[in-house]
C-alpha cells in the first residue's frame, strides 16, 4: 500500500493498461504537453509516445473519432476536459457511441472510455461546474461510473478500459487531489462494473451516494454515530448499471433511506433510486425517503451564491435525525 492521489491513481491505471495493450490510446485537449488540465494524464505522453494525442478543440471529433477508432479495432480513452462540454458532442454519444453495437445487430463493439471531469470546484460557475451523470443513465447502450476515492478510481478505470462497452467515467475535480492508501498492483481487487460497496455498516438508516457525494454521506454518518444513529453508507460507484440489490438489501435492514448527490435534485439519479425503492420495498420503509441534491438552479459564480446550491453533511444529519422524531 502507498498513498496516492485520485489523479495519480488514474494515471497508474492508464499506464498499466496501456503497457498491456498497444491498441489503447488517449486523445483529448491539452494532454500531450500538459498531462491534462488537472494533471490526470501526467507522465503518460513520455511513457507512450504517439499514443497520447492532443486534439483540436473539436468535441464532436473527440467522441465521434473515438467511436470510429473503436470500430476499427482500437481501444480509445478520450477526455472531455470538463464534463460540461459534453453537450457539444451529444449526438456522438447518444446516437453513435451508444447505438452502433445494438442497431447493427452486434456486428460492432465500442470499447471506449469517456473521461469526464465534473462537479463544482473553485467557483467555476455555470459552465464549468456541473454534475451531469443522470443524463447518461437514461441512455441504453452506455455504462456510467463515478468513483469516490483513489483506490476505486484506479480499479474502476481499469475495469472501464477493459470493458468492451462504452463507459463514461465521471471523475470529480475536487477529488483529484484527495489522497488515500491504494493497494500495490499485486494486491488490487478487480472491480466489476455495476457493483456498489458498503463503506460503513449500520442498522438505522441507509445513505446512498457516489463520487464527491460520498464525503457528505460518510461525514453525516460519523456525526450521526455520535448521536447514537448508525448509518449504513453505500457507495454506488456505478450508476448504469446500478446495484439495486445492494440498496434494497440495506433498506430492508435499516428501514430508512437517504440519497444525496451534488447534481440537481430534479431528475437526478437519486430519483431513480428513490422510485425503485418505492416500487420494490416501500413496505419496509418506516419514514419517507430523504433526497438531497442541488436546487433547480444553474451553478452561480459568487461564493455566497454557490454555497446555496451545494449539499452539506449537516443537511443530511438534520434530515436523518428528523426521521427518528
Amino acid at each position: 500500500m502507498r498513498k496516492l492521489s485520485f489523479s495519480m491513481a488514474t494515471c497508474e491505471a492508464m499506464a498499466e493498461e496501456m503497457a498491456l495493450d498497444d491498441k489503447i490510446f488517449v486523445m483529448g485537449e491539452d494532454l500531450a504537453r500538459q498531462g491534462g488540465i488537472f494533471g490526470q494524464f501526467k507522465g503518460l505522453p513520455e511513457k507512450f509516445p504517439g499514443r497520447v494525442i492532443d486534439t483540436p478543440i473539436s468535441e464532436t471529433f473527440i467522441i465521434g473519432g473515438g467511436v470510429g477508432a473503436a470500430l476499427a479495432g482500437a481501444r480509445p480513452v478520450v477526455d472531455m476536459h470538463f464534463a460540461d462540454f459534453i453537450g457539444v458532442c451529444m449526438d456522438e454519444i447518444f446516437n453513435q457511441m451508444a447505438k452502433v453495437r445494438y442497431m447493427f445487430g452486434g456486428q460492432a463493439k465500442v470499447p471506449l472510455v469517456l473521461r469526464a471531469p465534473d462537479g463544482m470546484t473553485i467557483q467555476g460557475a455555470a459552465q464549468h461546474s456541473q454534475a451531469v451523470e443522470a443524463w447518461f443513465c437514461h441512455i441504453p447502450g452506455i455504462q456510467v461510473v463515478a468513483p469516490s476515492n483513489p483506490e476505486d478510481a484506479k480499479a474502476v478505470l481499469k475495469a472501464a478500459i477493459r470493458s468492451d462497452n462504452p463507459v463514461i467515467y465521471f471523475e470529480n475535480k475536487i477529488l483529484y487531489k484527495e489522497t488515500a492508501m491504494v493497494p500495490e498492483i499485486a494486491d488490487e481487487v478487480p472491480y466489476t462494473i455495476g457493483k456498489a460497496k458498503v463503506r460503513r455498516e449500520g442498522k438505522d438508516v441507509t445513505i446512498v451516494s457516489y463520487s464527491i457525494g460520498m464525503k457528505n454521506a460518510l461525514g453525516a454518518a460519523e456525526r450521526l454515530a455520535k448521536e447514537g444513529i448508525e448509518a449504513e453508507v453505500i457507495d454506488l460507484i456505478s450508476l448504469s448499471p446500478w446495484d439495486k440489490e445492494a440498496v434494497l438489501t440495506s433498506v430492508k435492514k435499516t428501514h430508512r433511506l437517504c440519497i444525496a448527490h451534488e447534481a440537481v435534485k430534479q431528475g437526478g439519479f437519486g430519483a431513480e433510486i428513490a422510485a425503485t425503492v418505492a416500487e420494490e420495498a416501500i413496505e419496509y420503509l418506516d419514514a419517507p425517503i430523504l433526497r438531497y441534491g442541488a436546487p433547480f438552479c444553474p451553478i452561480p459564480f459568487a461564493p455566497t451564491l454557490e454555497k446555496m446550491v451545494r449539499v452539506f453533511p449537516e443537511d443530511l444529519v438534520k434530515g436523518i435525525k428528523g426521521m427518528f422524531e
Binding site: 464532436t60 477508432a69 452502433v100 447493427f104 452486434g106
Partner: protein, 326 residues
Amino acid sequence: MKVSKEQALKFYETMCLIREFETSVKHDFLNGEIPGFVHLYIGEEAVATGICAALDDTDYIESTHRGHGHCIAKGADVDRMMAEIFGKKTGLCKGKGGSMHIADFSVGMLGANGVVGGGYNLAAGAALANKMILKNDRVSVVFFGDGASNRGTFHEAANVSSAWKLPTIFVNEMNQWASTTPYETTTAVKDISDRAKGYHMPAVIADGKNVFEVYAAAVGAVERARAGEGPTFIECKTFRVEGHFVGDPELYRTREYVKENAALNDPLTWFDRTMTRKNGYIDGVIEPQELEAVRAAAKEKIVKAKEFAMSSEYPDPDQYTADLYL
C-alpha cells in the same frame, strides 16, 4: 482512365444491382410490405460503384440514410440486406437496424447513419486508428450529401484529417436536394468541394453519372491516402431522382423538372449509350445483349433476395435486448 472491359462490366453489374434493389424496395414499400422509412439511391448508382471499386474489402466506408447503394457497392450480401430492410432475423443487423442503419462489417461497411453528417467523425476516427495506432494502410471513406456538408461535424473531421494527413476520403454526393430544400437556397458555395480549400485538401469534381470518372477520382484519392499524403475531397455531381423518402409527395418540385434531370444524369443510360459505341474508357465496345444479360442477372438476384427476405422470420421478441451490451 481506361479500364478492362471486364471491369466495366463489373461496374455495370453493381449499378444494375443497386437499381434493381431500389426498384424492388420502392415497390414493396408502397405495397406496405416494408415498414419504416426508406430513402432510395436511384440515379446515384455510379457514385457508390465507382468509389467502392477502388477500395479493398478491409477499407472502410461510412454511409448515410440513403445507404443501400453504398452497402451493395461495398460487397454486402443482397439477400441479407433485403432481409434487414424487411426487418427479418436473417438480416445483416438481425432486424435491429432496418434501412437507415444497414451495415456489413464483414466487408468494411461501417453502417448507414440516420443522423445527417453523423459519419464524418467516425470515418476520421477509423482513419486515425488505422494510421496512428493499428499501423496499417486501410483507408476510410465517408459519403455525404450536399445537405450534410452544412453540418459542423464536417469541419471538425475535415480539419483533423488534413492536419494529421489521415487516410480519410470525403465523398460528396451533390444530388442538389437536402430533403425538400434545393441546396442553393441554403448553401454558400456552388461547388461543395470549394470548401476543401479551407482545409488544404485537394478536391476533384467528378461527373456523378460517369462511373469511370468517379472511379478514377477514387483511385487517385486512395493512392494519396495509402501513401500517407492525407485526405481528398471528391464531389460527385449527381441527381436525386426519387423523393427524399418513398412516399414523399414532392410538393417542392415538378414532375417535369425531375424527369428532365433524371434523364440528363442517369448513370445507366449513360453507360449503355457510351459503352455500345467506341469510347475512351475501354478498348472496344460492349454489345447491347451483353448489357441486357447483366441487367437480367441483376433482376434475378433481387427477385431471389426478396424471396429470401419474405421467407425469413421476424426476430424472436425475446431478442429485443440482445446485442445491447457485451
